[in-house]
Amino acid sequence: MNVRRLIGFNLLTAVVLGVVGFYAGWWLGHQITGKSIAYFSDTNQNDIALFVAYLVGVIGFLVGLGFANYPVQRLLGKPPSLREKEQHGVRRYFGLCTDHKVVGIQYLLGIGAFIFVGGLNAMLIRFELMRPAHLVWNGNNYLTLVGVHGTMMMGMMTSGILGPFANYLVPLMIGSRRMAFPRIEALTFWLLMAAGTILMTTFAFGGFPTGWTGYAPLSEQANLGIDAYIAFFALVGVSMMLLGLNMLATVITMRAPGMTWGRLPIFVWATVSTSVLMLLAAPVLISTLLMLALDRTAQTGFFNDQTGGSSYLYENLFWFFGHPEVYILAIPGMGILLEILPVFSRKPLWGYRLAVTGMLGIAILSFLVWQHHLFMSGINADLRPFYMLSTEIISLPTGFIFICALGTLWKGRIRATVPMLFCLAWLFNFLIGGLTGVFLSDVPSDVTTHGSFFSMAHFHYTIMGGLLFAFFAGIYYWVPKMTGYNFNERLGKVHFWIMFLAFNSTFGPLLVIGFLGMPRRVVTYAGYLQGANDWVSVSAFVLGGSMLIFLANIIWSQVFARVPTGMNPWGSKSIEWQLPSPVPVHNFDRIPTFGSDPYPYGDNAGSNLAQRPIVAPARPTP
């Protein structure tokens, strides 16, 4: 290999500059503040140095990737290099690339890797819980595992579907060659990778004890490790905000002729609803974490009772972001569900307008329910009936999604392909997730369930049972389009059945364990719950093992077997399946014109395109 090729703006340079920047920032921070800060702390911990180190490190990483080239050249009045558009081959997946399809695949691999780390943490947590008393992890390590698991999953999966699938598919589905802001699109991905790496550094600074919620004042007492949490989530917030902005701008401005709002694929509507939430909720998260960082460094005391602040302030601000956040996770899953069900039922989407209303309704209502997380906290007790009502009303738009899914199955010709199995499992899991949510929305019932394993199992049913199952449905459905190679269907079905059964065998009993009085995030529990916890742990290991089958399937089918997908293996009528697999660099030879929504099943129409073909056949892909 030519060594000279390694020099330039690429991932290697980025990592080197990132590490150099981190240490430079660490040194600079100590120069600003002196060797140690005496106030508030009896230790030699310097939060300012660590925050500066993270900041300079991230800037170094982005400069190394080449994000500064374009603005700097424009500032100097020189013609900007468009080098990032011209990369070919495998190299473009390991650097700044503004092709929306490359960014989508980067997201899939990058987020997949971090989810794998988060899943490993879950395995370690379940291992500890096989005994009621101490087994392997001490209190601090256990809480760090819990915190990193929760934070990694909640942070990374915000873009878990929008990152890979919306970046890849939305431009195709609306008939565009690119996103509105391609450089920002690449930036959202690399910010997320920098953030994930920062979260992993928490292990080097002693971890953090707060879980993913980071409640103050516990997070203000915590050691240096919590700074990784703050930097991670703030960067995820920036990435989320930019992603939402980019998606909205793309869908609003870049639709091809004939792609009216009433013809948008339902997945694009889900993307729009989620993007609105991201754009409006993420700034609250960023500012909350900024306040927390100021409390830890500049001694502002926003959240500390003894210095005139309030722990309620943090809880309110966090959940004002945090509740929209869980719908940022849920709505894209609904989009994938309703996008895939018509294909394998051979039916148009049933109740298109109802589904759109449902998604937008969820998006709006989700800003009005956050204090149900504070039912037991004693704040605004008189407002609890309102939050009870708003929380229960949000089940109406969620019900729309269900009735649209059920209606789509009606008199269809259902084919049990792997993506379809994941979608049907979504309906089962999300039903349980929704029903268990009713207990948490009702104040008298919430007395038992709040903060217990019941609520933990509830949100795993909605997020893992909803989002992750939809994520896998999307992978089995669309990755053959991205790579051009089919998955092994038998391995896929084995993966599905083990995952589905193990998932329910893990989280079903956890609902009962919560009802029996086991709180979340504890390292010890009552002895009589050991049998149930052991059952759950073993199921969780099987659940983790099913991911290895999935990995084996990826490696076998995409590296060794390599069965070509062909243009349209599923018989879908949506535009992305009228293109070659993988999709050529410039998507279409000419911009398509749309004649209907992408569900003209039973209408004798081949696709939703008004004119064909949009790509000359057998065009070699560069």
Binding site: Q45, L406, G407, R413, V443, P444, T448, H450
Partner: protein, 280 residues
């Protein structure tokens, strides 16, 4: 699905009705009485009723959706070995069933909200942390007990008994109790499982929850809000005893802690200790 001359719709309706008729009695008479948190107090009893009512409302929806899903997967499956792709009927919606679904779910949701509010304003929400000025207060004489969350244990002060602070929670049976929950450091949550009580302990806040123990026995106390390193070890067992036993016990505690009492701060609805030092 309610369209005419349609045997699928009738079958699904039959599955829903028969399924609900089978499941509902099981929910009411078998599952319901065993719902948490038990019958140790009036408040807990009310929560069991609430949990049962929620289950009853959910049952027909669950049976309908699962029944429909199972039926659809079986009845509408593509014939085995069908290689040629054939489309289903181009049905893009059905206004009557959409309206029926919207109406049914709206009625259920409004019922749940109204029912929940009524129960909250009646006694059943009393076990939840209701802030410094709860809307509904019990009538009659109330025994105040302050619960102080601190890293990592709960201590209890009895202001009507000279403000004595103990490490154990003992309550007299049949006496209305007002828990005043507060914290000295991080956010904790006082969860007395069998009593049906959960109230967050926030620094500088007096969070009140009412409960009336109905029978003599013990109950589990756990911290239900992540509060740091030893959160998992922050548990305790409380006791409900007869009034005379309680009088004896509290008198004993007052003697035992008399020497320490003069170093304690005066009883207050909340305390403001020095800012905390960094700790795990």
């Amino acid at each position: 699905m309610w369209s005419k001359s349609n045997s699928h719709g009738r079958r699904i309706a039959a599955i829903t009705v028969i399924g609900t008729a089978i499941v509902l009695p099981l929910v009411i008479f078998v599952l319901g009485p065993n719902m948490p948190p038990g019958k140790a107090t009036q408040v807990a009893r009310g929560q069991v009723t609430d949990n049962t009512v929620l289950l009853v409302v959910m049952t027909p929806f669950t049976v309908f959706i699962l029944g429909y899903l199972g039926y659809a997967i079986w009845a509408f499956r593509a014939p085995k070995g069908e290689t040629e792709l054939r489309d289903g009927a181009p049905i893009r919606g059905h206004m009557p069933s959409q309206i029926a679904w919207l109406a049914t779910t709206t009625v259920a949701v409004l019922f749940l909200a109204i029912f929940g509010t009524t129960e909250l304003l009646a006694n059943n929400g009393a076990g939840s942390g209701s802030g410094p000025n709860p809307v509904s207060k019990p009538s009659g004489q109330v025994l105040p007990v302050q619960v102080i969350g601190q890293q990592w244990e709960f201590t209890y002060r009895y202001p009507t008994y000279g403000g004595v602070e103990t490490a154990q929670l003992v309550l007299p049976v049949g006496q209305e109790v007002a828990f005043h929950v507060t914290s000295l450091d991080a956010v904790h949550s006082f969860w007395a499982y069998e009593l049906g009580v959960k109230a967050d302990a926030n620094p500088g806040v007096d969070n009140i929850a009412y409960v009336k123990p109905a029978k003599v026995g013990t109950f589990q106390i756990r911290c239900a809000e992540l509060c740091g390193l030893w959160h998992g070890y922050m548990f305790d067992t409380g006791r409900i005893v007869s009034t005379s036993d309680f009088k004896t016990w509290i008198a004993g505690e007052r003697t035992a802690f008399a020497g320490i009492m003069k170093y304690l701060p005066k009883y207050s609805t909340s305390y403001s200790p020095d800012p905390p030092y960094r700790a795990g």
